[in-house]
């Protein structure tokens, strides 16, 4: 298989320049692929898929009780990020997370940002993800968003833009780590020669971040990962991370509040829990404070948390920053809190509750992407180009009924990368989700989840909508920088 007939098209391609020449970081890889005997690449692709199946890196197909499972589609051609691009991403993310954390602290305490008129007050009060129950809470070390998985997209101009911040329970990092293992097996020599920055110590950093939050100076804090259970679609990831960190994987029914502490039920009685990395949404973690019908949570948990006797990661309440209307104000937050210009721009966003914006959106539905302010995973979306009259009318109606619930953005011509389609390569649109840990310092994992829209022409990369993934190689620069660079946490 070769790239002679590969068409870059009118998009930014992650491996090739517009004129068809190879980008510097991808040269070794492309050369190797061209040199492979016919059929070899497809065999490697099949071997990788078989490995995923036997490792059980699968997700359950909903509605099928007799264990029908699928692997997340995986393409073995890695996506490559040049060092100078990565420097921008890393600095931009650190800046953004720093500002968002200050915002969260502010919004649940003094609300300076509202009083100073940077964000209109009703944006916050009308957000369905704002948690009044969190007002006045001081999370350990004043950190709210410990783990973020920001979605970035690259436009035709080659610039990266922030699409979503994902401050609640971003998933996918286990696929990043497993994809890397598979790729090392698939292209060992190329991998070795390409100076790819390692990502394998992510679980170690994560554990360190969690341990640092333990309420008191405890020699070895008990850290648990709280999962909704084995039938959750992200369960593979929960188990994987717990295993890699050496943390206990618990369900709500394993935990109980006793004598003012969170305890887990063990074969030897109750053991105190210090840090909970919860992969359950705010709404479900404590039926006494949030949704009373939740069977997944722990009654009384929030009281222990409020008293500072257990750390919750991420802090409850961070979802307000995921609201797509609040998202539109992040560049303003960066200016306001840090007095800096944003390094990574937002995708331009029209807020339907602003009258001018709404009129514009309704007049241009055919060119815009409309999103529900509080949905994720590719749900509740209208992609204007290619939509039908009926679909647009339905959205117009929804927008008029609840203007606050919708935003619109111009269609970003997402960059593309080659994927294997039968016996040749075709370009498919990709995005990038790097993971950021906020502990003693802020660390950006050098790499991330590259999601691919596998359907030809599709712009939707979510796995629930037919997306797949690729390994992401961040190339180390000549200077041989040390892995895991970090920056001191900015003061709040």
């Amino acid at each position: 298989m070769d790239f002679f007939r590969y068409d870059v098209g009118l998009f930014y391609d992650e491996l090739f320049h517009q004129d068809g020449s190879t980008r510097p970081g991808a040269e070794i890889l492309i050369q190797k692929i061209q040199d492979l005997p016919a059929g070899d690449l497809v065999r490697r692709q099949q071997a990788a898929e078989a490995a995923m199946m036997s490792l059980g890196i699968t997700f359950a197909v909903y509605g099928d009780t007799q264990g029908s499972e699928k692997i997340i589609p995986f393409d073995i051609i890695p996506r490559i990020i040049e060092p100078e691009d990565w420097r921008v991403i890393e600095a931009g993310l650190i800046q953004r997370i720093t500002a968002l954390n200050i915002f969260l602290n502010d919004i649940y305490h003094d609300k300076r940002v509202l009083r100073d008129g940077v964000i209109p007050e009703d944006v916050i009060t009308s957000s369905t993800s704002y948690r009044m129950q969190c007002e006045g809470i001081r999370p350990p070390k004043d950190v709210w968003c410990h783990i973020t998985g920001t979605d970035l997209v690259r436009d035709k101009d080659g610039r990266f833009y922030v699409l979503e911040d994902n401050l609640r329970c971003p998933s996918g990092v286990s696929y990043v780590l497993e994809n890397r293992q598979l790729l090392k097996r698939t292209f060992p020599k190329v991998f070795e020669a390409s100076r790819v920055r390692p990502i394998d110590d992510y679980p170690g950093w994560l554990r360190h971040t969690l341990g640092w939050l333990a309420p008191q100076r405890i020699e070895s804090p008990t850290i648990v990962l709280l999962t909704p259970g084995a039938y959750n679609s992200a369960y593979f990831e929960h188990a994987f991370l717990a295993q890699q960190m050496g943390a206990e994987l618990v369900e709500g029914r394993d935990l109980v509040v006793r004598d003012g502490f969170v305890m887990m039920r063990t074969t030897r009685g109750f053991t105190r829990v210090d840090v909970i990395y919860r992969r359950i949404d705010d709404d479900f973690i404590d039926p006494e404070v949030f949704r009373p019908d939740s069977m997944l949570g722990i009654p009384g948990l929030m009281e222990v948390y409020r008293a500072g006797r257990v750390a919750l990661v991420n802090a409850p309440g961070t979802g307000v920053a995921d609201d797509k209307v609040v998202y539109a104000y992040v560049p303003d937050m960066i200016k306001y809190y840090l007095d800096q210009d944003p390094i990574l721009p937002n995708v331009p966003t029209y807020l339907c509750w602003r009258e001018d914006d709404r009129r514009y959106v309704l007049d241009h539905l055919e060119e815009l992407v409309v999103k529900a302010a509080n949905e994720s995973g590719g749900y509740g979306m209208l992609i204007g180009p290619g939509s039908t009259r009926d679909e647009r009318d339905a959205f117009a109606e929804k927008i008029n009924a609840t203007p606050r619930g919708y935003i619109a953005q111009p269609v970003v011509a997402l960059s593309r990368a080659p994927v294997i389609v039968d016996d040749h390569f075709e370009g498919r649109h990709v995005d990038l989700r790097p993971y950021v840990l906020y502990g003693e310092d802020i660390r950006v994992m050098p790499g991330g989840l590259t999601r691919v829209a596998l359907r030809r022409g599709s712009l939707v990369v979510n796995s629930s909508q037919g997306g797949g993934s690729k390994d992401t190689w961040v190339i180390d620069d000549e200077s041989g920088a040390t892995p895991g660079r970090s920056q001191q946490q900015a003061g709040g």
Binding site: S54, L55, G56, A239, Q243, E248, R265, T267, G269, F270
Partner: protein
Amino acid sequence: MLSRAADSIYWMSRYIERAENTARFVDVVRHLVLDLPGRATNQWASLVQASGDEQAFQQRYGEATEANVIRFLTLDHDNPNSIYSSLWLARENARSVRDAISSEMWEQINRTYLMVKNAEEIKRIDDDPSGFFRHFKKACHLFAGITDLTMTHGEGWHFGRMGRLVERAEKTSRILDVKYYMLLPRVDYIGSPYDSLQWKALLKSISALEMFHKQYHRVTPVCVAEFLVLNRQFPRAMRYCLIKAEESLHAITGSPPATFGNLAEQRIGRLRAEMDYTDIREILDSGLHEYLDIFQEKLNAFGDAVFQTFFDLATRPDQNN
């Protein structure tokens, strides 16, 4: 460790062992049938009877032909005790404790499950049952080996071993019983050449023939029963299973040997002690079938006690250490 995790590891091991033993059950009957040309009419029916799921079988299959019985006991999704169901349950339990077991263990369970699932799709079981059972038993052995070699021999491992041994003791007692079931209607077989052939088939299908011959020179019912019930060193013998299960239990609780601190320890200790002070004559005089029946009952009572002592979150008395 978490009560729920201990529970899952215990059951994960039990279900794998259960699946393996079901394969052995089928295998023993296949051998018996081969050795009884022309007279094997109701051997398969006896097997269904011994499995305890006779009613469900008759409702769905009717006649107890070889093909029907094999399908019922191996790939039938609706039979909760089929190999497929046991493996599926083993895998679900393993999945819920993936952080507590090694990834090699998970991978082996997953592979075995996929192999059985696949066997159904490609009709392998109908074309080559021997091949299927041979591969399947090997996969189960591999799991036991991987468990012993990759998991810390701490609390979780002991729960797993206890589950495996309790299940095995129960199944060895049943497999012995099946043989008796089959012979009861034809008393004139006893002592005939057919008889010794059948006992050999039984020993072979539970991988015991060679080890049996190291100790006994003739294959007689008394010797086989003695070997499978009372041997202290053969890993599929009931007594061996009890001794090691009790060891694991004491490793978990830390109670000194020959004492008990909870109901589970009391029950298994008593059952093991009864075996220590009996012999095969006494057992046969009171009736092997009756003896095995009572053994199974007491073993079940021990299983209940394990549940109450370690896994039951609702009723366990509060304790803080």
